[in-house]
Structure formats: structure tokens, C-alpha cells
């Protein structure tokens, strides 16, 4: 299971992360593909995402500002409306009292039945009035109409009486009073016919006021209530203090007009505070109207939308990053392929160049060595002759053995220089039509006895026995002979040798010679066509066979390649053109 996952992961892993062409490294233009990839992803990512994020942030701030402004405006409007309603409520009742005081004679007002009648009419007209009383200039209660039995009271030292006497009108705060029920009093000063003043006082129930205020509360996030100038809550508030308790918010600064601002409550939650100091045409009041809106609640819808937008932008950013990463991977892979092709071409060019220069060197060395070698040969041969032919000296076995070894060495040197020259030589090509199958059969005839003796199976696979190419028979024979020789040397007894030839689509013939012998490492494989490189035991090979083969294949305008795996075998593949072009330069041909 884990193996499958690993294989799947390997298949999507970018090619440039599993670089294995270490031998080509010096030819690569770009050394660090991972760095290029990372740089590409970072630069493209920044270029794509920074503007997106910047626009999102700016847009968010802009919307935040306009929403804030809108909320403040709406709160201010609400506070203004509520203020008008409260003002109207109070002015209406005060004006009614003033009307009563001015239009109805004091004597009538002092009559309890008459006053009760007026109270009844006022209740019908405005509602919310509990009682009415007439107070003389001395502060004595003259008449009372209402549910309570209040008679003979003196208010001369009471604050409201002093205020009313002074300012003609009085509006009290809301208080519990003797009855322990929240109420407020309003009083109006008027004059009798004899010029002595009296005061008409009414007790107002706060029920109507509270109902009216709550009718302005739109939604659960709004809170509208009255406080007095000391910050004591006068009508019920949902969150900012119980009735007759100190308000938990700060008392706003005095302002003639309705005002709204963004603030925070005692817990630090953002709120929008709208307020208005209630002031009547005919009198001042102790009330401040408070309109509080919880910003969090008001913004919930917008925050929800914003969260959705954030999700979309986040997903968009991920998609952009994935696209960038995939694109970068593709581009860097293409770069790697191009670089690899270039590196392979360069490596090949260098190898060809090395081969050519080594060839020239070899020819020079061989030429220079041949003459002294010939001298050694003749001199040593003469010494040998002196022993064997003339009998001038008696035969000495040890001396003879040494001379033989000198002659052997000379013979071997001669072989090497001949091969070197063969390698350097540019051959004339005698072009003729050759049947591939025949050439292979001829070459294998050289080895038929060895194959039987060593029990080596040779499979020849040439589907078309009449497959012909135009080439040089001798050269082709030598190429195949060299490769078959090599293969025979590489395999052990009982091994297999496969020779196949078939026509390719590209006007070429592909001949492959494979064995299931010992194989070669990648390092050895890369040097296999270099002169003097041999995998054989010291002294057993000159290391020129494959280098010469390489030269011959090139001469026949073909290509040779090799693949190998240790202990699995080696396969040489030659590709030769069906028709060879004649373009020979033999001005520097050498033979020895």
C-alpha cells in the first residue's frame, strides 16, 4: 500500500527534483533548478497576490468607513426623532396645564369638584395624568384632585415649588416619591385676578413616555432611554443600568443639537451613541435622551458577507498558487529538458573531439615508435640468430627466454601501433549493396566453434532476410566482428547472445547486439568508446576495439549507442543509413 502511494507520489514529483544526470552536470547552464522553481513561485505569487490582498484590505477599510458613517447618521436620525417625540410629549402636557391655568378662574380651580372635572377631561384628552393640585403662593395645597388623599400639605420649602415660583414652569426628574411608583411632576405658575400667583401641579405617569420611547427601538441591538443630567437612568434601559441607577456609560457632553458618535461600552464593545439634551420651548428639563446601538450587532450581516468574501479570496489565492506552481513546474521541467539536450550534445561533441585528437596523437606516436621498434626487433633478432643459427655461442636457455620475451614485447608493441594507426586511419569506403543477414552470418561463422565449445546460445533475429543497405562490407564486417568479439569476452559459459536487425521508419537500419553477461556500471559506460579504456584484465585488451568501432560507425555515417546493467548484460545498438553519401577526404590517410 505504502509502496503504491510512494509510486504515485514519485509520478507527480517534478522531473527536475529527480535529476540523475550527474555526469552531465558540468554542461548544465542552470545548476539549481529547485532554486529557479522557488524563485518563480515566489515572484509570481507576490505579483499575483499582493495587489489582490491590498485591494481587499483597502476595500474593507472603505466599506468599514462608509458603514460607520451610515450607522452614525442613522443613529443621529433616530435620536432626533425620539427627541422630538419626547419634547412633544412634555410640551403637550405643559401647554395643557398652562391653558387650564390661564383660561379657568382660580376660584373654579379651587373648587374640588371643578378640579376633578378638569382632571377627568385632561385624562380623556392626553392620558397619563395621575392627579392635579392647586398650590397657593404660600405653598399650601389648596385643592387636590386625584386618587390619593393629599390635603393640607405645604410645599413652600420644596425644590420644585421654589423653581416653579422662579421660572414659571417646572419639569421634574422621574422619581418614586411617597407612592414608590416612578412618576414625574410638571407645574405651571399663574396669577389670580388679585395679582397673587398660584401654581397648578400635575403628576404624570411615566408609562406612556416609556411606551413611546420603546416604540422607537428598532431591532434588538438598539437601546433608547432617558437619563438625568447626573447620569441616573430614568426610563428602563436594556443594558446600561437599571432604573434609578447610575448609567454604566459616560455622561455625554452638553450639546444643543442631537449628536451621534462611535464609542465603546464599559466592556469595550464598540457602540454608536446618539444623544440629545431635552429642552422645551418654555422650560428646561433635566433629561438627556440616550440612543445606544451595538455596532457588532448592526455589522453582523456585513461581517457575514465579509467572511464569505474572505473565503472566496482565500480559495482564489490557493487556486492562483496552485496554478503558479504547476506552471513553474512545467516551465522548469521544459528548461531542464532543453538544458539536458544541450548538455548531452556538448558532452557528445567533447567526446568526439577527444576521440579525434586522441586519434591524431595515436597516429603520431605510432609513426615515431615504429622505427626504433624495428631496430629493437632486428637487434634482438640478430642476438637470437647468433645463438640459434651460427652457434657462435653455446645455447643458454635463460638468455634465450629473455630474448624471446623482448621479441614478444616488440611484437605486441607492433600490434598496438598497427591498431593505433588503424584507429587513426580514415578508410576509403567501397560502397556496395549488402545483405545484413549475410554479413551477420559471416561474422558469426568466426565464432561458431567457440559458441559450441562454451555452450553459448546465439539468437539471430532478422525478420527480413533480404534486408539490404548500401555501405562498405569490410567496415561493417569489422564493426560487427568487434562487437561480437566483445560480447563473447563478456559472457560466461552457457550465456546468451542476441543479434537483431530491422529497418526503421527513418530510412535507417538498426542492428543490436546484446548479451546477458556481466554488464557495466554507468561510469564505465560513459567511457566505453574512449581509446585505451578497457574493462578486461591488464594486458588482455588494448582498449582500442570499441574506439575503432566507434570511428568505423561514424565513417559509415551511422550512430552507435550502448546500454548496460550490471549483472544483466550489455546491448550495443548501431543505426546505419540505408544509403550512404559519398564524401571522403583521404588527403591525410595513413597506413603505417
Amino acid at each position: 500500500m505504502t509502496g503504491k502511494i510512494r509510486t504515485a507520489l514519485q509520478s507527480i514529483r517534478p522531473k527536475f527534483r529527480r535529476q540523475s544526470e550527474e555526469h552531465l552536470n558540468p554542461y548544465f547552464t542552470f545548476a539549481n533548478y529547485n532554486k529557479i522553481w522557488l524563485l518563480g513561485v515566489v515572484v509570481l505569487g507576490l505579483a499575483a497576490l499582493v495587489p489582490l490582498i491590498a485591494v481587499t484590505v483597502l476595500h474593507y477599510q472603505l466599506i468599514q468607513k462608509s458603514v460607520d458613517l451610515e450607522l452614525v447618521l442613522r443613529t443621529e436620525r433616530l435620536a432626533s426623532n425620539a427627541r422630538r417625540a419626547v419634547t412633544f410629549f412634555m410640551e403637550e402636557r405643559l401647554n395643557a396645564l398652562r391653558f387650564v391655568a390661564n383660561e379657568i378662574q382660580y376660584e373654579q380651580l379651587a373648587n374640588p369638584q371643578q378640579l376633578a372635572e378638569i382632571l377627568r377631561n385632561l385624562k380623556l384628552g392626553f392620558g397619563g395624568l395621575t392627579d392635579l393640585s392647586i398650590i397657593s403662593h404660600t405653598g399650601d395645597q389648596v385643592t387636590y384632585a386625584g386618587p390619593f388623599k393629599l390635603k393640607g400639605l405645604n410645599y413652600s420649602d420644596q425644590q420644585w415649588f421654589i423653581e416653579c415660583r422662579k421660572h414659571n414652569v417646572y419639569v421634574s426628574e422621574i422619581f418614586r416619591g411617597y407612592r414608590d411608583v416612578p412618576h414625574m411632576i410638571v407645574a405651571v405658575k399663574s396669577y389670580r385676578r388679585d395679582g397673587i400667583f398660584f401654581i397648578i401641579r400635575a403628576t404624570l405617569e411615566t408609562e406612556r413616555l416609556i411606551q413611546m420611547l420603546s416604540s422607537y427601538e428598532t431591532g434588538k441591538h438598539a437601546d433608547i432611554f432617558l437619563i438625568n443630567r447626573s447620569g441616573i437612568v430614568q426610563t428602563p434601559s436594556k443594558r446600561y443600568g437599571g432604573i434609578f441607577e447610575k448609567m454604566t456609560l459616560a455622561i455625554p457632553e452638553y450639546s444643543e443639537k442631537t449628536h451621534a458618535l462611535i464609542a465603546s461600552d464599559h466592556q469595550g464593545n464598540p457602540i454608536i451613541t446618539g444623544y440629545a439634551f431635552i429642552s422645551l420651548n418654555i422650560a428646561d428639563t433635566p433629561f438627556i435622551l440616550m440612543v445606544i446601538k451595538e455596532k457588532g450587532g448592526m455589522m453582523a450581516i456585513w461581517e457575514d458577507l465579509h467572511a464569505k468574501i474572505n473565503w472566496i479570496i482565500g480559495l482564489g489565492a490557493i487556486v492562483i498558487l496552485v496554478v503558479i506552481m504547476v506552471t513553474c513546474t512545467y516551465m522548469v521541467n521544459r528548461m531542464l529538458m532543453a538544458d539536458k539536450t544541450k548538455a548531452e550534445t556538448l558532452a557528445l561533441a567533447e567526446q568526439n573531439c577527444q576521440l579525434a585528437s586522441v586519434g591524431q596523437l595515436a597516429a603520431g606516436v605510432a609513426h615515431e615508435i615504429n622505427n626504433p621498434l624495428a631496430l629493437i626487433n632486428e637487434t634482438a633478432g640478430y642476438v637470437k640468430d647468433l645463438f640459434t643459427i651460427t652457434e657462435t655461442y653455446s645455447e643458454d636457455d635463460e638468455l634465450m627466454e629473455n630474448i624471446e620475451s623482448i621479441l614478444d614485447a616488440v611484437e605486441r608493441c607492433g600490434r598496438i601501433t598497427r591498431q593505433l594507426l588503424g584507429f587513426a586511419r580514415k578508410f576509403d569506403i567501397k560502397i556496395q549493396k549488402i545483405k545484413i543477414k549475410e554479413v551477420i552470418t559471416d561474422v558469426l561463422n568466426f565464432h561458431s566453434k567457440e559458441a559450441v565449445y562454451r555452450n553459448i546460445t546465439v539468437n539471430v533475429d532478422v525478420p527480413d532476410p533480404d534486408l539490404e543497405i548500401e555501405s562498405d562490407r569490410g567496415k561493417l564486417q569489422q564493426i560487427l566482428l568487434n562487437l561480437v568479439n566483445n560480447a563473447f569476452q563478456a559472457v560466461a559459459e552457457g550465456c546468451r547472445l542476441d543479434i537483431a536487425a530491422r529497418k526503421k521508419e527513418t530510412e535507417t537500419v538498426e542492428i543490436s547486439i546484446g548479451d546477458n553477461g556481466c554488464g557495466m556500471s554507468e561510469e564505465k559506460l560513459s567511457k566505453v568508446f574512449e581509446p585505451f579504456f578497457t574493462t578486461k584484465e591488464l594486458g588482455k585488451g588494448t582498449g582500442l576495439g570499441l574506439a575503432i568501432t566507434y570511428g568505423l560507425v561514424k565513417k559509415l555515417q551511422g550512430e552507435i549507442s550502448v546500454s548496460s546493467e550490471i549483472s544483466k548484460g550489455t546491448t550495443f545498438t548501431i543505426t546505419l543509413p540505408l544509403h550512404i553519401e559519398e564524401a571522403m577526404d583521404d588527403s591525410e590517410n595513413t597506413t603505417g
Binding site: 609513426h367 615504429n370 622505427n371 621498434l373 624495428a374 631496430l375 629493437i376 626487433n377 632486428e378 637487434t379 633478432g381 640478430y382 640468430d385 643459427i389 651460427t390 621479441l407 616488440v410 611484437e411 608493441c413 607492433g414 598497427r418 594507426l421 586511419r425 580514415k426 576509403d428 583521404d586 588527403s587 591525410e588 590517410n589 595513413t590 597506413t591 603505417g592
Partner: protein, 123 residues
């Protein structure tokens, strides 16, 4: 073995002498020339069974020497034996009628077998 008359033309004095000695040990009658002019004079003077010719002579180039030898005596077999030699030289020599074009070092046994071959052909 018959007494083959062999002319060795080579400017490598020690090599030529040594080869002559060895051939003499094998019953041949050898004469050595170290330059082209000397050799041509010899060829004009005497007839040889075989001529061994090096290409790089100090005065005349081997191919020219061969041409002149062939002008003097078409039938004498000439073996070109050289340490340096181009394909062009080989083609030229073979075209001029050289018996063989061989490179140094050459084993004495190979040489002797060539001599026997020539002898067989000539008889």
C-alpha cells in the same frame, strides 16, 4: 636455401645493417644502401632477387625511387617497408607495381615466408 640477392634501401643505418646480417645468417646475399641515389646506382649496376625500400630517404622520396627502380628493372619485386606512410603512398606504390606495402617492425619469419612465396612464383 638459395642465395637470394637482396638490396636493402634504408637510411636507418643500424636497422639496415642488422637486417642485412640476419638475412645473411639465413643464407641471403645482402647489400645495403643508405640513400636513394646510391640505391639507384646499385640497381643499375646489378640485378637483385628482391629490393626492400624505405619511403623516408634523405635525398629522394621512396615513391620516386620506386618509380625509377621500376623504370630500370620492371621485374624485380620491391617490398616497401616503412615506419611512416600514408594511404596515398600505399596506393601510389601499389599502382607503381610494388610487391607489398608493409610497415615496421616486421618479423623475420614473415619476411622469410614472403621470400619463399616470391621464389615459388618466380619458378
Amino acid at each position: 636455401m638459395k642465395h637470394f640477392r637482396i638490396l636493402i634501401i634504408d637510411d636507418e643505418v643500424r636497422f639496415a645493417d642488422m637486417l642485412a646480417k640476419r638475412l645473411q645468417l639465413r643464407g641471403c646475399d645482402c647489400r645495403v644502401c643508405y640513400s636513394g641515389k646510391e640505391a639507384l646506382a646499385q640497381v643499375e649496376k646489378e640485378t637483385y632477387f628482391l629490393i626492400l625500400l624505405d619511403l623516408h630517404l634523405p635525398d629522394i622520396y621512396g615513391v620516386e625511387v620506386l618509380t625509377k627502380i621500376k623504370m630500370i628493372n620492371r621485374t624485380t619485386p620491391v617490398i616497401v617497408l616503412t615506419g611512416h606512410g600514408t594511404e596515398k603512398d600505399r596506393q601510389a606504390c601499389m599502382a607503381l607495381g610494388a610487391y607489398a606495402f608493409m610497415h615496421k617492425p616486421l618479423s623475420i619469419d614473415t619476411f622469410m615466408s614472403i621470400l619463399e612465396d616470391i621464389q615459388e612464383v618466380s619458378t
